[in-house]
Symmetry: C2
Subunit: 221 residues, 2 copies
């Protein structure tokens, strides 16, 4: 068990009771609702800046509306199947927050789908989002619980029948029907079942399995 | 109306009947089920290699099992909230198909979420996937119908309450609840309603709104 368990007890409010035999402290000593930025010299567990995460969690626990985030992206069509997304900042903790750098992401289709392979295609980008999110969720929640992970990798595969997208058969779903995510984790073998459970905290996973309301507007430019 | 309409009539099987006053030819002249790669000198519409797309559509219409695709990604945890996805190929048209290049995508979290901002975060990657997919779907299906698009851009914003992910309140959804996608399109204004309808062919959009089965396995490494 790592040094973070007591400090992060607040993060475990909903499920620590089910983890028999684990020490916990349901209080937090954080007195501030200020959002912190990482101190590079601060202690990490699984590479996570625990003190920073503690500050954020404690702040949201004390003032729940700090948890409301708006994540954003802008996209520009570059012709054909090629387009580029820009991500520069988001809204969280009741403030606009800029990323340290602006991220650009290119999407295209392979030649067989009439593109030039200038980027992963959109459904491959979706698999990337899922892989990244489940990984991050597992590692961060494991850190909170003092579960050490030495290495972690995953392989994802998802099924799509193009007849749906192409409009060839309206009974065929247009999106992914099944996605398989296989993790291999270097950790004590006794942790594997817990890690599988912690993966279910992933926001992207929950968006895919629970669905989201998506409103599309198309206006003249 | 562009030159592609007759050639792509097969793509419109399910909905062209609802487009009053539009010429169409429900047959296709393509006799091959061979998968084609683009000829750089071939005619394009909205930048789409129409002949290539025609070949793929005709092949799948003739032999439906060619539509079954498996898209793939692998991910490696790099420590903390930083991880990297690699996309190199997929299965489609009953064969393994390599991308012309291997794509690497980095994800991280911003400092406030205890990361180092080495990449867009996973839910931003999800917005990218959605933006890219709806854009591609709209442009390709517009090309098929001879709807010319001169420029297209979008802004996306999605709502997440971090209390769900953090486990602070189990009644709070962990994923996106609402996502707003606002397109601005340079096209004849009469096309806007059709373009909005065509956006609903997007596989990522359908995955988000209809949900997918996601199976997660966690094994020792």
């Amino acid at each position: 068990m790592g040094p973070a368990v007591k400090a992060y007890a607040v993060l475990e409010l909903t499920d620590i009771a089910s983890e028999a035999g684990r020490e916990n402290d349901m209080t937090t000593t954080a007195e501030t609702t200020q959002v912190q930025t990482p101190d590079p010299t601060a202690e990490t567990f699984n590479g996570i800046h625990l003190e920073t995460l503690q500050g954020t969690v404690a702040a949201i626990a004390k003032e729940p509306e700090l948890g409301a985030c708006k994540f954003r992206a802008t996209n520009r069509w570059l012709g054909g199947n090629h387009n580029r997304t820009t991500v520069s900042g988001f809204y969280g903790a009741k403030q606009e927050i800029a990323h340290k750098q602006t991220f650009e992401l290119h999407a295209d289709e392979p030649p067989i789908l009439a593109g030039n392979d200038e980027g992963a295609n959109p459904v491959e980008h979706l698999l990337n989002a899922l892989a990244a999110c489940v990984t991050t969720s597992m590692v961060a929640h494991a850190a909170v619980r003092g579960i050490r992970i030495d290495a972690l990798e995953s392989e994802l595969e998802g099924d799509i029948d193009l007849r749906g997208f192409l409009g060839l058969d309206e009974t065929v779903p247009k999106g992914f029907t099944d996605i398989r995510v296989n993790f291999k984790v270097a950790t004590d073998v006794e942790n594997l079942e817990t890690l599988k459970r912690l993966s279910t905290y992933s926001p992207v996973l929950n968006t895919l399995t629970q669905g989201a309301n998506v409103e599309i507007r198309v206006e003249p430019k």
